[in-house]
Symmetry: C2
Subunit: 146 residues, 2 copies
DNA sequence: GTTTATGCAAAACATTTGCATAGTC
DNA sequence: GACTATGCAAATGTTTTGCATAAAC
């Protein structure tokens, strides 16, 4: 599982070091979105600087995507494939991928309506995931990513 | 022009102080998006803390909307009406409002496809505005919000 | 006169960087 | 052995906070 990610790094000519291995394994293990701080807590042996450097490296490699939370702070998750968007569950922290979002049509309409040329976009959707919709009535929120 | 904004603050029981007036006027004067820092530079007489406090207050009042730049840093602009999105020109900093974006249909589809309940969303579109599309071939980028 | 807002300076955060050391290839 | 990555600690940049003062209602 983590191997695929590590292979990609290898293919990019990056060195396979202990810290990188440990960070990638931590990410794969918890199939969830994470903040830089959470990742530092998950792998305390690795220094802050390396965590930030590695996150940046993974984002640049396209292996991790950066999203933003409601308050604007950055959140990351392993990127699964191609261009897509995310729905962040506000209760449990789950991240749902959205592939067929129909945004391309939307962007075309924007170009037509405004005359602007679309260079890129970012869409964040804040949701309650199905499990949390079901659970929301019974138990209190358990939002805890750490 | 600035009056409408000030009236809204007044209606919310907030005091009409010199600094607030000055900040709101600065915002209205430059009909453009701004960062906290730019606003501080525009009204140097007002202290940092007050600038941040006032921005927050305006965002909470719905008078200003917070968006994010490509790098994730926050950008603000006077909000014109209702729910809408923004297209940020990457060359000149212009902000185009997008009202009829068709995103509601998209969100409904997301709910159907994933079973999640959509609580909210944020869409940022990064563009070249029409003027910049025209100018891009001739002159070099002049991105300068300050 | 009471309550709220301001300014300043300091604190709190999050992220980045310089540089010597250690690890990979 | 050459080059890259790491760790630490310090620097950076931005936003927040405490508290005494000043302004608004």
């Amino acid at each position: 599982m983590a191997t695929a990610v590590l292979d990609t790094l290898d293919a990019q000519g990056l060195r396979m070091t202990g810290p990188r291995r440990a960070l990638v394994e931590a990410l794969v293990e918890r199939q969830e979105a994470f903040t830089a701080e959470e990742l530092m807590q998950a792998v305390p042996a690795v220094g802050r600087a390396t965590v930030f450097r590695t996150i940046k490296l993974l984002v640049d490699s396209g292996l991790v995507c950066r999203m933003s939370q409601v308050d604007g702070r950055p959140l990351y998750s392993l990127s699964h494939q191609g261009h897509h968007h995310h729905a962040l569950c506000q209760r449990c922290g789950a991240v749902l991928d959205i592939y067929r979002c129909g945004i391309d049509t939307m962007l075309e309409n924007i170009e037509l309506a405004t005359g602007a040329k679309v260079l890129g976009h970012r869409l964040e959707v804040f949701v309650l995931c199905p499990a949390c919709v079901a659970a929301a009535d019974e138990s209190p929120p358990a939002k805890q990513l750490a």
